[in-house]
Amino acid sequence: MKIKVITGSLMIALALWALAPAVSLAEQASVAGDPDAKCLKCHSKKLKKKLEDGEKMSLQVMAADFEESVHSVIGCTGCHRDVGKSKHPSKKPISSRRDYSIVQNETCSQCHASKAKAYDGSIHASLAGNGNVDAPLCSDCHQTHAVKPMAVYQPVTGEPCKACHEEIFDAYAQSVHGLARANGNVIRDDHIQAPICADCHSAHDVNAVAAVDHLQSTCLDCHDGASVAHEQWLPNAKMHMTSVSCAACHSPVAERRIDLQLYDNLEQVPVGTNEDHPEIQDRLVEIDESDDGLDPLELWKLVRLSTNEGKATNVTLRGRMEVTRGVDAHRLAPRADAVRSCDTCHQGNSEAFQNVTVSISSPDGQKQRFEADSEVLNSAISVDSVGGFYAPGGTRIKLLDGLLALAIFGGLAVPIGHITLGKILRKKKNTEQ
């Protein structure tokens, strides 16, 4: 009996010893081993924090979303490193949801340094830096606790760009690119990877639409045969591809305009991209004081009489045809539907020459545009000020039309006058005889 008791006790002890680690692991997992579980214990509930601006910010984290997110592996404290037993819940006031996002997005750069650097040079960062509260921060595109893998952004869902650029995305979705993407990337029976937003605009270094050189080279990155193809039929193809945006012809329904960009001949850069040209910007506003659009004389004054820090400037205007609305730049049609008729632009009544702007660039590639009278393209005064832009037929100088008419009628008047003079003189001679 004693032996049985001892044996039984030993077996129980052995069993307890064998089970001991398992109990310990379970405890670790449920209590101390999974800090995320600890966090979610509270943050899965509908917690809210009152912000200084009066708004109540939700502190709820959907556990399922977080588990599916790419950040589940680093856990809550991977980003919320300042949270600790003694510091949480924090009594530190938060001024606004936006300010909190700005601070929290700094955390992203600690792991995603290259992406953060690219973002810093983007139009989004520029707008955010200028206080635009609608400009997206990291979490606006990637969400806060449901950060998804990159593949999620590849199909034609429009995510995340569509959230802000819905009209543009809808235009894209109906374009040759969008339809090809939705159709399994089939273009003209070939399997070609049709671009999605980030392929042209970059994912983090999102470029301003006005950074035309970049966008055009982006088109040519895929359409590498386009230059040669245009040279086959288009006179002055290289010039056209420089001074006409791709979309101006390949988005046939688009409304077009001529943008005259102020260009610094000495620095060989657009005015405003290298250094600020505050005086010329002020001068532009000052010259068009009536705010009715720059007329030919005002434009001439701007180009010829402007100074920078008291020194004469060597500024010129570089013209470029582009689409008026950014959304139209995304309505790219199949090649067969692109504008091919020269008459579309090279005639006096062309709508493209009715809308004219004068622009100054900013370092981030954005353009500040000022309205100009369409007369600036047809005035004799513009021979000097708009020397760098001319489209035969479309922007012809009206004074020269007058001179041509004079030359024709004057030329015809000479024989008529001479013959008449001859008749008079002969008649006079006959009368005298």
Partner: protein, 215 residues
């Protein structure tokens, strides 16, 4: 002097226009006419539709190169022949302009009174002072300027540096169009002056046969 005998009048006819010059002249005339027509089409698509803008550009470019090549044929012919004297400048300006105004006077009145022509046409001095000054200006200044500005517009990227030196593509085009206006005026007057021979057809026949028509 090259001469020939006519059977009816047995009068010596002066050989004024060598074959090379006549070929150059009529090719040039055809070229200029086509350039003016296509030039009008390029400039006034909204007013004329003789051909598409694209066709007008192609024709204007090809004919333009043809006229440039033809100009060089003219230049080579005159530089290598003794007929270059026709284009020699008159060093006595006072005498030249005296004769120039006498020629003007003739065209204004003398021609209608049956007066004798003030300038005696000869193979090595066939232009009267008005013609000489006009042709010197047309052949040595306006035509090369027209060709040069046309070339710049034909390929604005290739001639970018030159275009910027001139002041931009609009300046280049304005010069080209001003010359186009001048040439249009010139062609009309030139065609009319052609009928002011002994008979309206005399000068035209001369430019075909090469021989001066009897006066």
């Amino acid at each position: 002097m090259t001469t020939m005998q006519t059977t009816h009048f047995r009068q010596e006819k002066t050989y004024l226009h060598p074959l090379a010059v006549r070929i150059w002249h009529w090719l040039n005339a055809l070229g200029f006419l086509l350039l003016i027509i296509t030039g009008f089409q390029l400039r006034y698509v909204d007013l004329f539709s003789l051909m598409s803008f694209e066709s007008a550009v192609k024709m204007h470019n090809w004919v333009g190169f043809g006229v440039i090549a033809n100009w060089f044929l003219w230049l080579v012919y005159y530089v290598t022949s003794d007929k270059i004297t026709n284009y020699h400048p008159d060093l006595d300006a006072k005498d030249f302009f005296k004769r120039y105004f006498r020629q003007m006077e003739y065209y204004s009145a003398g021609i209608f009174k049956g007066e004798k022509k003030p300038h005696r046409v000869q193979p090595h001095d066939k232009f009267n002072p008005m013609q000489k000054l006009t042709y010197q200006f047309v052949m040595f200044i306006t035509a090369p300027a027209m060709f040069l500005t046309g070339l710049m517009m034909w390929d604005v990227v290739r001639f970018q540096g030159l275009i910027e030196m001139v002041g931009g593509i609009r300046v280049v085009n304005t010069i080209h169009v001003l010359l186009f206006i001048l040439f249009t005026f010139f062609i009309i007057i030139h065609a009319y002056m052609g009928v002011l021979g002994k008979k309206p057809s005399s000068h035209y026949k001369e430019m075909i046969t090469g021989y001066e028509e009897p006066h």
